[in-house]
Amino acid sequence: MLEAQSLTKAFGGLVAVRDASIKVPEGRIVSLIGPNGAGKTTLFAMVAGFLRPDRGTVTFQGQDITGWQPHRICALGMVRTFQITQPFANLTVLENVMVGAYARIANRLEAAELARKVATRVGLGARLDQPAQGLTVAGRKRLELARALATQPKLLLLDEVMAGLNPTEITEIVQVIRGIRDSGVTIFLIEHVMQAVMSLSEYTYVLNNGALIAEGEPKAVASDPHVIEAYLGHGAAERIKKGNAHA
């Protein structure tokens, strides 16, 4: 459904993403993990049209969308959320979600109805008339999700929707995301919370220093020595192996 071919983006001398190729098949939950500063969000931004890649192409449902503007990509059916939440602070929760709903619905009452439904689905049903700026971190993450869902996407790009949530909240939102996938929306997510990645995603890409270093099923990827080293430092894989042998 989504295919990125050798995407590269440099900011001055810093190459944030180098030659990264990913594939997200329809109906799946695919994740992208990696240490801080690995270039995950930059990769997302290129896919969703917020950054123009220096090299490489992005194809969505067979159409080359490289360099398209975000609103056109949204119209095609791909929408992103922001890691640093970007609420319309002075609007209510319902009004926030309605902006998303208006992507495909011109009528106000219908847009409000869809927005209400979507907000309830992600657990914001009790806060519809509350200003978005009064929401907690968890609430804002849910709002990001609700707004994106209200655009009725085919592919949802989630940028760390679980960061900063407590375990109960994570369990809840994992359920919500599964539900979204089961309703026919493909999901591509960036995540730090490994518990969530393991239980949610069926395929994982690992990005380190701008380059993909591993891909595969989450369990296999997590035991890949390259991945362990990327997260825990040089020689860590070796030491863990030794530790296991001693035990």
């Binding site: 949204c74 602070a89 609007l91 009004e95 902006v99 992507a103 907690t136 994106a148």
Partner: protein
């Protein structure tokens, strides 16, 4: 959220306009009618600014460029080409919208936001003033005098009451446009752009187009105000048409009253005229009145950043967020 969209709110609005319609029948002093006309005229222009500056958040410092364009279109078509003044109104509106398109296209393409956008609009209005001062078609600094010939057909009235009706109608249309913004997809998109452009773009809003259309609508409305000005005073010259004072008045009226609200410009216009007229009336030295005027403005901006209208609006009670997403208890007002 907006209380006056209820049937009771509608009744209030209807009563307000009905009351306003009766004003010319009972108020016969020209001096009072003149003030009423100026209040509504400022409110109308403030509403025009409010579309781009309040709703879409593109705060212009040079809206006089639209007013002046409308004024000159009406004056030139009448005096040079013998048009009927009523017929000059559509070209004036189109002219204002076209100037809005030009300014918007150039500055939004270049990604100008916030104070940079404010400065570039100020620059445009100053350029327009200098052009009007030096071009032959605007008669330069001499200005254009529209010959006096009262009569409905000529959009000139000996009776100020008729001007009042015209400006009331203009205000009603502007009011309707703002109300429509509150209720429509276009309006929701403008507000989304104001609140967070990136988020709006991610959710499918063509932010460039939204801002451009807002400025064109705003410019067209302001230009009609310029046409009215010419018919009311029968004279236009560069400082009147394109002066910074006009731009400042338009944004002040809207921001003092409450920008991004339907009634803000009217509230702001009434307040500003009250303040400036009373200070001028009761204080002999003209400088003192201006100082007092300035102090009151500072106080309003400092203590009511959302405008005077925030005094009348019930604040939405914040539902205590329990962090768990469980239904929280609602405020007592719900």
């Amino acid at each position: 959220m907006i209380g006056w969209t209820t049937p009771r709110g509608w009744a209030h609005i209807g009563a307000g306009f009905a009351f306003a319609l009766l004003i010319p029948a009972f108020v016969t002093q020209n001096f009072l009618l003149h003030i009423a006309i100026l209040v509504l005229f400022s409110a109308y222009l403030g509403q025009a600014w409010n579309i781009a500056g309040g709703y879409a958040g593109q705060r212009s410092f040079g809206h006089a460029v639209f007013v002046g364009t409308g004024a000159y279109v009406t004056a030139i078509l009448q005096t040079r080409f013998g048009w009927n003044p009523w017929l000059t109104l559509p070209p004036a509106i189109i002219g204002g919208a076209a100037v809005g398109w030009l300014i918007g296209f150039l500055s939004f393409r270049a990604g100008l936001r916030g104070s940079y956008f404010a400065l570039i609009t100020l620059a445009f209005s100053e350029v327009a003033r200098i052009l009007a001062n030096s071009l032959e078609i605007t008669r330069g600094g001499l200005g254009i005098l529209v010959p006096l010939s009262p009569g409905f057909a000529n959009f000139q009235f000996a009776n100020k009451g008729n001007f009042f009706i015209v400006v009331l109608a203009m205000f009603a249309v502007a009011f309707g446009i703002a109300w429509w913004l509150e209720k429509s997809r276009f309006g929701a998109r403008l507000v989304a752009v104001r609140e967070n452009e990136d988020a709006a773009a991610a959710l499918g809003v063509d932010t460039f187009k939204a801002k451009l259309h807002a400025l064109m609508l705003s410019g067209g409305m302001a230009a009609l105000g310029g046409s009215f000005y010419v018919q009311y005073y029968l004279y236009v010259e560069p400082p009147i048409a394109y002066g910074v004072e006009r731009s400042v008045e338009m944004l002040l009226v809207s921001m003092i009253g409450g920008s991004g609200t339907v009634l803000g410009p009217l509230v702001g216009s009434i307040a500003l005229h009250l303040i400036s007229d009373t200070t001028r009336h009761f204080l002999e030295a003209p400088g003192v009145a201006l100082i007092l005027y300035g102090i009151v403005l500072i106080l309003i901006v400092g203590f009511l950043p959302d405008g005077l209208i925030s005094l009348f609006r019930r604040r939405p009670t914040v539902v205590p967020d329990t962090d768990s997403g469980a239904p929280a208890r609602r405020g007592a007002h719900a």
